[in-house]
């Protein structure tokens, strides 16, 4: 290498070796006499010297700089000593497990500088397969819930852990010494290690018993399997393998047993064309149910039935299938429900590839279903009894017995963990009365909830993101829970507390490792030490034993279906009386996360209502009672009475009322306070089984009204085929463009494609072209994307009042349209949904139009187009004219009507420092007065591009994912670079561009980057909207 060192001279003087220069060359400061400013000419004879001038200048600069600091930075504290492996602004991911009562998901936790900011699905999991649900996404926010307890309490008084331990051990010993019963009441525990801890505790206190119950019990099913197959377990279902799916009241996509597993599998069976691996067949789904559930909304054929008809319907279905397959029938029942014959025919036709499920907790109904599935040969094909699912293990009879014991004063000590029976058990009120009388009552709840506040002690447990643990959601699937943050409050894990009180070493992490070392490490292969096994399991978040932990046993039906059918027939009283059905909402579930503002604001997939529960009535029933939407009605059943607002629900069975559980939490915290009413007490108990139904209900007009906040108030699509395009499978098989609508613009040269008429030159997308494909066939409407986006993009919660003002801030929403029976052009008729409508879910977000109407109208260029096809929003340039929002044909732009942070009117997580820890530091928190909207997660795109650049490569296909696409449990949303031929989106569009892919509102030629794939129904009849268009021609 040649010597490139050069000599630089500071001035001509140095170059010339000027004498004066050389003289002064080594003195650091020049002679002031020579260099002072020419005072006479410049400063009018003042004595200001150069240095004074510089001082004054310096001060002035500093003062001006300080004065110009518009926004002071609060509390940005840098690391004094940087923790190892933590790089500020770089995310770390930890594999962990979401466990909330029985619900489960294998997850990755994104942490930033030691605080979890996002939950993603763990793609390694064979159960959730990288998918999440809205509840999983939202559980992050519960970590930063300000309403949680800060430490253990005796009554309302805070005490230290040492005091608590001493007093509780004393109390336990006193009870034990007397031989008094100790009861550990929990919801389903899917952790084998926790169960081992409980066993240790019971070993120490032999009078202790573990009572598990579930607010949403599936005990009837387990009992039925016990009588039918000798296994008190819930089998695993393969919805992807089923060609005919019949569900009697089971909301298996939303809330039934293990929806996260069923969603993905169900969607696999519904995907067709490019997203379905080229297949042109899909499952056919029949749903018989009372209220319109999210699952029912996805069905091809749906029939409303009364809750009391579930059992008879199961028997009738059995009989019809038996007739077709030549089996024996179970006594004669007559029931006239639409599509029943058709369902039976299809089940029989696809024997061996059929699946029948029922949501009822009545073991008799489940026995009949088992018999039916057995006759259909489902066991071994679509149902696997050898891989039981453990996410519901609650035992209604034990719980009932516990309450009886408690009332009789036979319980000396009770410990509640993950259980809030005072609130969520139908006999909660009875329990509440006797809790105070017990010698020791204790709750592990993280807050002083309805049960905990009646207990003598509360020893709060940390959030699962602060905890160690494991989970076994189904046989042969083990996952680990590891903390992603250290304890925020002075909490202690349930297991540590039990171990302490049992007099054992209380470090649960050590216990867990030991348990895995002795139990699971021997089942592994290929690890040279337990440590490497442990590290690998922690890294992956899960462990699947090689030998496959299946539970062997018979799968031949050995139950007595005839006896079950007789029981059903005896209890069935055909009548016209009003009946009540309690159901779980996809958002709030059993109510355990009711204080989570993200879930409260998440619109119900079907009703689009948030922040409330309500009495869902069919239009006919409402007319009969003389009420309309939002009128208050008094619902009376089982000697209880409650006032609820009316929700007119298309698809609701006549003479029934459906009300969601999980509301009316009085002691959950600020967000849940005053939201809805608690209807658990209305649940019936039949032979000890909790049934979410009630007969002999009266619903009367109560006078007054209460407006239910809905994010969508117009139910139908008004026959607009430019918005939703749908077809039939039979037509699709013949012609993949079935259901497509090709608008034309008439010009003097004849009709032309609207895309061929434009004023614009268009934008070049030379590098990337980010786009999205949304498959309407696999979108089940679950809202996981909505909450995922909310978490990723710091989307504000605005509360019920503001939702009533139609100002929710969600960047992505799921439009839900009901079909209408009216003819085209009958606009007032089209506004009315059918009595039992077909439903379409359409995720709607910024379409990133290439000819964006919002961009041209912004006076200040706050919204512009990128060279990668993004429609960008520059918050700090926005002056808030809202012209862009008005001119958006998709109405996806959101305005900050108020300052939503640090504002007591919006007292959610953005109003306290703890809650603000959930903020994604990559995304600006928008100030009041500016517009915001979906950015296609530009921060993720940027991060992905930078990573690729640092590694000197192109971003890999599908490497960069938007939050919604990542959250989607059914892969209905495909995000990617349309310029990269290897990306999934490009491959899908390659074939679908001429088949199923369409742009919403194609005729206005805004050229969105988002394509939708037509909704294809597996129906023999013409879809209603389609039929209407045909009849018009």
């Amino acid at each position: 290498m040649e010597n490139t060192s050069k000599r630089y001279w500071k001035g001509v003087e140095e170059l010339r070796n000027d004498a004066t220069f050389i003289k002064n060359a080594n003195s650091e400061f020049a002679n002031p006499d020579e260099t002072s400013l020419d005072s006479d000419s410049l400063l009018g004879g003042s004595n200001t010297q150069r240095r004074d001038f510089l001082k004054a200048m310096g001060f002035g600069m500093a003062a001006v700089t300080l004065a110009a600091c518009e926004t002071p930075v609060h509390k940005a504290i840098p690391y004094l000593n940087k923790p190892e492996f933590t790089i500020p602004s770089i995310s770390d991911y930890y594999a962990s497990t979401y466990v909330n009562n029985g619900d489960f998901a294998s997850i990755l936790v994104e942490t930033r500088e030691g605080r979890p900011i996002k939950i993603e699905g763990n793609p390694l999991s064979t159960i959730s397969k990288g998918g999440t649900t809205a509840q999983v996404q939202a559980s992050l926010l519960s970590l930063y819930d300000i309403d949680k307890l800060k430490g253990p309490q005796r009554g309302n008084a805070s005490i230290g852990w040492d005091v608590a331990d001493r007093e509780i051990i004393n109390a336990l010993n006193t009870v034990a010494a007397r031989g008094g019963a100790v009861r550990i009441v929990t919801s389903t525990i899917i952790s084998p290690t926790t169960k081992a801890v409980v066993a240790d505790f019971i070993a120490k206190y032999p009078t202790a018993q573990h009572v598990m119950y579930d607010a949403n019990s599936a005990f009837g099913m387990m009992q039925a399997n016990q009588t039918s197959f000798g296994k008190a377990a819930i089998p695993s279902y393969a919805f992807d393998k089923a060609e005919t799916i019949v569900s009697i009241g089971a909301d298996f996509l939303g809330t039934w047993v293990a929806p996260i597993a069923y969603m993905r599998a169900y969607a696999e069976g519904r995907k067709i064309g490019a997203v379905g691996g080229g297949k042109k067949s899909m499952s056919r789904h029949y749903q018989f149910e009372t209220g319109l559930s999210m699952t029912g909304a996805n069905a091809d054929y749906r029939s409303p039935i009364k809750p009391s008809q579930e059992g008879v319907l199961a028997v009738a279905l059995y009989n019809k299938v038996a007739q077709k397959l030549g089996g024996t029938t179970l006594g004669s029942v007559t029931i006239d429900v639409p599509h029943l014959d058709k369902a039976a025919t299809d089940l029989a036709r696809t024997r061996g590839r059929s699946l029948v499920v029922a949501g009822s907790n009545d073991p008799d109904v489940q026995v009949v279903i088992n018999a039916l599935n057995s006759m259909l040969g489902s066991y071994g094909s679509t149902i696997d009894l050898n891989i039981p699912v453990y996410t519901r293990q609650g035992n209604d009879l034990q719980m009932n017995g516990f309450i009886n014991d408690a009332k009789a004063g036979r319980v000396g000590a009770v410990l509640f963990f993950g259980a809030n029976p005072v609130y969520d058990h139908p006999r909660g009120a009875e329990l509440a009365e006797v809790l105070a009388k017990m010698p020791l009552s204790l709750s592990f709840s993280d807050r002083a909830d309805e049960t905990a506040s009646l207990c003598k002690y509360i020893t709060p447990v940390p959030h699962f993101l602060e905890s160690w643990g494991d989970a076994e959601p189904q046989a042969g699937q083990l996952t680990l829970i590891q903390p992603a943050i250290s304890y925020i409050f002075k909490t202690r894990q349930f297991e540590s507390s039990l171990l302490t009180w049992a007099g054992k070493p209380s470090d649960y992490q050590v216990y867990l490792k030991n348990h895995w070392s002795t139990t699971y490490y021997p089942q592994s292969t290929g690890f040279d030490s337990f440590d490497s096994f442990w590290v690998k399991c922690l890294y992956d978040g899960l462990f699947v034993p090689q030998n496959g932990q299946t539970v062997a046993g018979a799968t031949t039906f050995a139950g007595n279906a005839a006896q079950a059918a007789t029981g059903i027939a005896q209890r069935f009283k055909p009548g016209t009386g009003m009946e009540m059905s309690l159901y779980e909402k996809v958002s709030i579930g059993t109510g355990s996360m009711a204080n989570n503002p993200w879930l409260q604001e998440m619109p119900d997939p079907v009703t689009k209502a948030c922040w409330d529960n309500y009495a869902a009535l069919s239009q006919k029933t409402a007319n009969y009672i003389g009420v309309t939407q939002n009128d208050l009605v008094t619902v009376k059943a089982n000697g209880k009475s409650i006032e609820l607002p009316v929700m007119i629900q298309p698809g609701q069975a006549d003479n029934t009322v459906s009300v969601a559980i999980g509301y009316g939490r009085e002691k959950a915290g600020k967000a849940a306070a005053g939201v809805g009413k608690n209807v658990y007490p209305f649940a019936g108990i039949l032979n000890g089984y909790v049934l979410f139904t009630a007969g002999s209900v009266t619903v009367e007009k109560a006078g007054g009204n209460h407006e239910v906040a809905q994010t969508q108030t117009h139910d139908t699509v008004m026959g607009r085929r430019a918005v939703v395009q749908e077809g039939r499978l039979v037509d699709y098989v013949k012609n993949p463009t079935a259901g497509r609508y090709f608008p034309k613009v008439v010009t003097p040269e004849g009709p032309v494609d609207p895309a061929n008429i434009t004023l614009w030159h268009g934008y070049g997308k030379p590098n990337h072209s980010w786009g999205m494909v949304i498959d309407l066939n696999s979108c089940i409407g679950c809202n996981a994307c909505v909450v995922g986006c909310q978490a990723e993009n710091n989307v504000q919660v605005v509360g019920r009042e503001e939702v009533l003002m139609r100002r929710e801030m969600h960047w992505i929403r799921i439009d839900r349209y009901y079909s209408s029976d009216a003819e085209a052009e009958d606009f007032s008729g089209l506004e009315i949904a059918s009595a039992n409508p077909e439903v379409v879910f359409q995720p709607m977000l910024c379409q990133h139009c290439s000819n964006a109407p919002c961009e041209t109208v912004c006076p200040v260029l706050a919204t512009t187009h990128s060279t990668e096809g993004l429609n960008q929003m520059t918050y700090n340039r926005c002056i808030g004219t809202r012209y862009c929002a008005n001119n958006c044909p998709y109405k996806v732009r959101r305005f900050n009507w108020f300052k939503y942070f640090d504002n007591d009117n919006f007292d959610y997580h953005f109003n306290n420092d703890l809650g603000k820890m959930v903020i994604n530091p990559d995304v600006t928190v928008r100030s009041r007065g500016v517009i915001e909207k979906c950015s296609f997660c530009v921060q993720r795109i940027q991060e992905g591009k930078l990573t690729a650049k640092k590694e000197r490569r192109r971003p890999l296909p599908d490497e960069i994912q938007s939050a919604c696409a990542q959250a989607c449990p059914t892969n209905a949303i495909i995000f990617g670079d349309m310029n990269n031929p290897e990306s999934t989106i490009s491959k899908v569009l390659e074939t679908e561009m001429t088949e199923r892919a369409f742009h919403v509102l194609e005729e206005i030629n805004v050229r969105p980057q988002i394509s939708y794939l037509t909704k294809i129904r597996n129906k023999d009849e013409m879809p209603k909207q389609e039929a209407r268009q045909e009849s018009q021609v």
Partner: protein, 476 residues
Amino acid sequence: MSHVTSAVRTPLVTGGKTYADVTEDISRQVEGRPTREWTIAFTISVVVLIYGTACVFWTWWEGLGVWGLNKTVGWAWDITNFVWWVGIGHAGTLISAILLLFRQKWRTAVNRSAEAMTIFAVLCAASFILMHMGRPWLAYWALPLPNTLGSLWVNFKSPLVWDVFAISTYFTVSLVFWYMGLLPDLATIRDRARSKVSRYIYGAFSLGWNGSAKTWARYEYLSLILAGLSTPLVLSVHTIVSMDFATSVIPGWHTTIFPPYFVAGAIFSGFAMVQNLMLIIRVVFKLEDYITIEHVESMNKIITLTGSIVGVAYLTEFFIAWYSGVEFESYAFINRATGPYWWAYAAMMTCNVVSPQLFWSRAIRRSIVWTFTISVVVNIGMWFERFVIIVTSLHRDYLPSSWAMFHPTLFDISDYIFSFGFFFTLFLLFAKFLPVVNMAEVKAIIKSSSEKLPVSVSGVAKGERVANPTFNKDVD
């Protein structure tokens, strides 16, 4: 400019006024103490203004959430009020510019007030531009100001930027036109002033007017030039305002008929407002001889004409919505007439299309009470027209999932009331401290026919500098 006046033409000024009478009649209220009626009216206006200002302040302090707007309806009363006030602001320039060019000499009695009304209305309109912004303190970003932010510039494609230019130009030209027209009258009042203060103030504002032939000549030339400049503005301002809607993609907004339709509507509402103000002024200030029934009738004829144009436009819109075959467009109009806001549409049709047709009856168009009532009705109708266009188009556009209703809140209403307080406070100050009728120009039309003046010039008030009686600018 010469013209022949018919001997049979009815005089434009009745009551046999002399030049001195004109000066006396019009200067009286400027020089005298405020009348009781004025004091009461002014007090009410100021109270309304204070209440309105408090509400506007709260709107800015809390955020636009205090209004009833939502994710679907992003504009409602704010832009309705803005367009309504801008529309009202059209009459002044129309009267002073276009009617000047058309040599409608009756305009001289009303042009001063109409121009003042224009300026104040445009100010009210501008207040809604500021008010409707999410961050009004950054409003100057809508101006193409040189800045240090690099190449950051305004979006010249945006109709809102065109609005900024259109309205500011219109305001500037109107203000100059109005002020220039005030100069001779300010000088008259200066010359008649008894107190030093008023002599000083009016003197300063009259910019050294000396009434010389040269001054008058320049005044005339400037009038003509400004009239020429303003004439296209009358058409351009509302054309551009209409483009806020016409260039969008929203069904019901995206309509090529908007420019002429909006201009006609603006003149329609502007004249109605002029009628209302004039009818009050002529009574309160006893100017019945200057603002005569002939004036009222002429303006009513213009109201009927523009009202009918607007009516035809409404029907044309409907026809085109059907004829185009565009389902969204068709539905937008069906929804206007029969949707949840049918009552607003009905109010618009009744007030704007039906009510001005009553003026076909001579008795009604010459009746003060009828004129006043119908003018009020017309302005209500024109407010509803803008409401119908803005709100009913937005509330049900393309995706039915986003369809929503707009319900006004107290602040929507109060911020509108603010503009009334603002307008009437300014107008009453104008009416008290400035001559409401252009004395110099009215003097030129006292002799509207070839007949001799009925009364000879006499009794020149003390201190008055007699305007050149032989000077008639139209004859000149």
